[in-house]
């Protein structure tokens, strides 16, 4: 009996996410395979090992609708002050050409919404789409792979340096009902290329929402990619995000996951270090309150020798919020001279917040350096007193302490306008 119920609710749940394609599918074989896989995949439950700390029941009970077309005519309120970037805007999941400004969409640096892909883009697109994330292994990846029609490909050709950062701006204009949205990115940095990408999520108005997003990232030999994800939606906005990065020899990739609001958020972040001498940074900070829940589920696969990965997640939890952090590091047999560092540090501001933190190291090589650490504590009372004894009131002192705590993450964002912006949001979060 329970099986029938689950099955039906899955169908009902998935329906609104499925209407987008209308036969316009590119790479149809991948889409079809994902659709077929989807039929056999179930929602993770609390008994699913990788989902132990995140309960999807409440989300599953909601009936989502497709978002209507938005009517935003000016994105100024959502721009990052001082950030000069190529801008791609999505409102209610739909690409907004008139609000976007892509200045170097010529030649070898391509920033292009999926439905504007041209014949010349297809080889790169086909080579990578659905090849980085396995679109058949879990329900959310399959759902996105099968049905997400809106997305962006950013392709930086060999040896090119994107002259400006690229900003992907998502705004969900709530209209009182519960909407489901999907978005997909494909970032391809060819050999010796460089690019910085900022993706920010905002919402306005009323209503629940769920985004099921997926981002595939390929960083080829000697390339350098930085990707900063800013989750800034309202307290009724949920998000399931899956991001996977594949790195080639001598490459460097950094992913920042900054979560300052939202309802239920699950971030799956996977790094596969497929060749030697790579450098990877997985950095995140989450500042929660109310009943928010954020689950950062990360994996780093050290497959080859001489790779370096550094993971740092810092969280602050207030009221009845909760967070989970899983840091899985796999060091394969061939991956000698691996350096893998991981740290998850948390400050709890209330008696009722919860954090579950779980480092998981699986090491099959014998000459490696790996470390992990997790701490959870309160704001340093002695430091607070010191600040207050210098005339700084409690609110300001707390701001300074919170900003200082997250600085270790935010100061590593290499785009100054973005790190300043985030530090400002952090300071004023509570």
């Amino acid at each position: 009996m329970s099986q029938t119920t689950t099955h039906q609710s899955k169908e009902a749940f998935l329906a609104p996410f499925q209407k987008h394609l209308n036969g316009k599918a590119i790479v149809p074989h991948i889409r079809t395979a994902a659709q077929e896989a989807l039929a056999g995949l179930e929602f993770p439950t609390k008994r699913t090992e990788d989902w132990k700390y995140t309960n999807l029941k409440t989300l599953q009970q909601k009936s989502f609708k497709q978002a209507s077309e938005g009517n935003i005519s000016d994105v100024q309120p959502w721009l990052i002050p001082g950030l000069e970037a190529d801008l791609i805007v999505f409102v209610n999941g739909q690409y907004q050409e008139s609000l976007s400004s892509i200045t170097y969409n010529q030649g070898i640096v391509r920033i292009v919404p999926f439905h504007q892909l041209e014949a010349a883009d297809m080889p790169v697109f086909e080579q990578h789409f659905g090849q980085i994330v396995d679109g058949e292994k879990d329900i959310f990846s399959a759902l996105n792979t099968a049905f997400a029609d809106q997305g962006v490909m950013i392709h930086i050709g060999k040896g090119n340096i994107a002259p400006k950062p690229v900003m992907l701006l998502h705004i969900n204009q709530g209209e009182g009902h519960t909407v489901g949205l999907q978005h997909r990115n494909l970032f391809v940095a060819e050999a010796s290329s460089q690019v910085k990408i900022v993706e920010a999520f905002f919402s306005t108005g009323e209503g629940d929402s769920l985004r099921n997003n997926l981002t595939e990232i390929s960083v080829a030999e000697n390339a350098n990619l930085e990707y900063i994800k800013l989750q800034l939606e309202s307290e009724t906005a949920s998000q399931i995000d899956t991001t996977e990065v594949h790195q080639g020899r001598d490459s460097k990739a950094s992913v920042f996951t900054i979560t300052l609001s939202g309802d239920l958020i699950r971030n799956n972040l996977i790094f596969k270090l497929n060749d030697e001498n790579t450098e990877s940074h997985l950095m995140g900070t989450y500042l929660l309150s109310g009943r928010q829940h954020v689950d950062n589920f990360t994996q780093v696969h050290h497959k080859m020798p001489n790779c370096y990965s550094n993971e740092l997640y810092k969280g602050i939890l207030d009221e009845k919020s909760s967070a989970a952090f899983t840091g899985r590091i796999n060091v394969y047999e061939d991956a000698q001279k691996t350096n893998a560092y991981q740290s998850n540090r948390n400050i709890i501001l209330s008696e009722t917040a919860n954090i579950y933190t779980k480092p998981q190291l699986e090491i099959y090589a014998d000459d490696v350096k790996c470390s992990h650490g997790a701490t959870t504590g309160r704001i340093d009372e002695d430091a607070m007193f010191y600040l207050r004894a210098r005339g700084i009131n409690e609110t300001e002192a707390k701001k300074l302490m919170i900003q200082a705590f997250t600085l270790e993450v935010t100061e590593n964002i290499s785009i100054e306008a973005v790190s300043e912006y985030v530090e400002g949001l952090v300071a004023n979060r509570y």
């Binding site: 010191y386 004894a389 210098r390």
Partner: protein
């Protein structure tokens, strides 16, 4: 200026201060000495408003204002300054940001305009020279990685920035080598004025060779049991505290 009457304070139900009386007038320098555990640092913490201590009886006023009713930051605004015995390291908060927030918070409390960035930097440069503080230190996080001597000089630097009415130096001399002690003392002496008072808490007479007090008090079991001029410090140095303890018992 500062008036302490019958002050009783405890921590975790243990009474540390047991009826302490002290009157400090403008421009005076008072030294408080006493054996370990007599309540010297508790007095400093209670005056600065540390929450761990509970005041069970008595009153403290600064220029007639009830100090015990005020938050620690308001006490700083009223002109009270505590140079910490153990200055706290605060990674991630830059000295400059900290000092600017501090100075402007105090100015705001006093109804003065915030300093412009330029005026603030000028003030910082000027005051840094008083304590011969390495300019690179202000680029670092608060006290992070500072040597013991640098931390203490940093306290006096902050005092110079905030220009308090009453400065409490809580064992500022402990752990200082003679050169650092000279620098710190010279800075304190430069800041002495007819309007500014000091309460110097110390374990050792040595400091008082450099910062010469008007009055010396002996704290024992949470009370001032003996007061005198600067010569009392010398007597204590020579004879230790036992004779005082005996006097009290008798």
């Amino acid at each position: 200026m500062l008036s302490i009457k019958n002050l009783h304070a405890s921590i975790e139900d243990k009474e540390i201060l047991r009826g302490l009386n002290l009157q400090i007038n403008p421009g005076e320098v008072h030294a408080i000495m006493g054996p370990n555990g007599s309540g010297k640092s508790t007095l400093a913490s209670v005056l600065a408003g540390k929450e761990d201590y509970e005041v069970t009886e008595g009153e403290v006023t600064l220029d007639g204002n009830d100090l015990l009713e005020l938050e620690p930051d308001e006490r700083a605004g009223e002109g009270l300054f505590l140079a910490f015995q153990y200055p706290v390291e605060i990674p991630g908060v830059s000295m400059t940001n900290f000092l600017r927030t501090s100075v402007n918070s105090v100015r705001e409390y006093r109804g003065e305009e915030a300093l412009s960035a330029g005026a603030f930097l000028k003030l910082m440069k000027e005051k840094q020279q008083i304590v011969e503080l390495d300019t690179t230190l202000t680029k670092r996080s608060v006290n992070e990685g500072f040597s013991g001597g640098e931390k203490k000089r940093n306290e006096i630097f902050q005092m110079a920035m905030l220009e308090p009415k009453l400065a409490i130096l809580d064992e500022t001399d402990s752990g200082l080598d003679i050169d650092a002690l000279r620098i710190v003392s010279a800075a304190v002496n430069k800041l002495r004025s007819p309007e500014r008072s000091f309460l110097v808490i110390t374990h050792y007479q040595r400091l008082l060779d450099y910062i010469v007090p008007d009055f010396v008090h002996v704290l024992y079991k949470g009370r001032i049991v003996k007061s005198g001029g600067k010569e009392l410090a010398l007597e204590l140095e020579e004879k230790g505290y036992d004779w005082i303890k005996e006097e009290v018992v008798a």
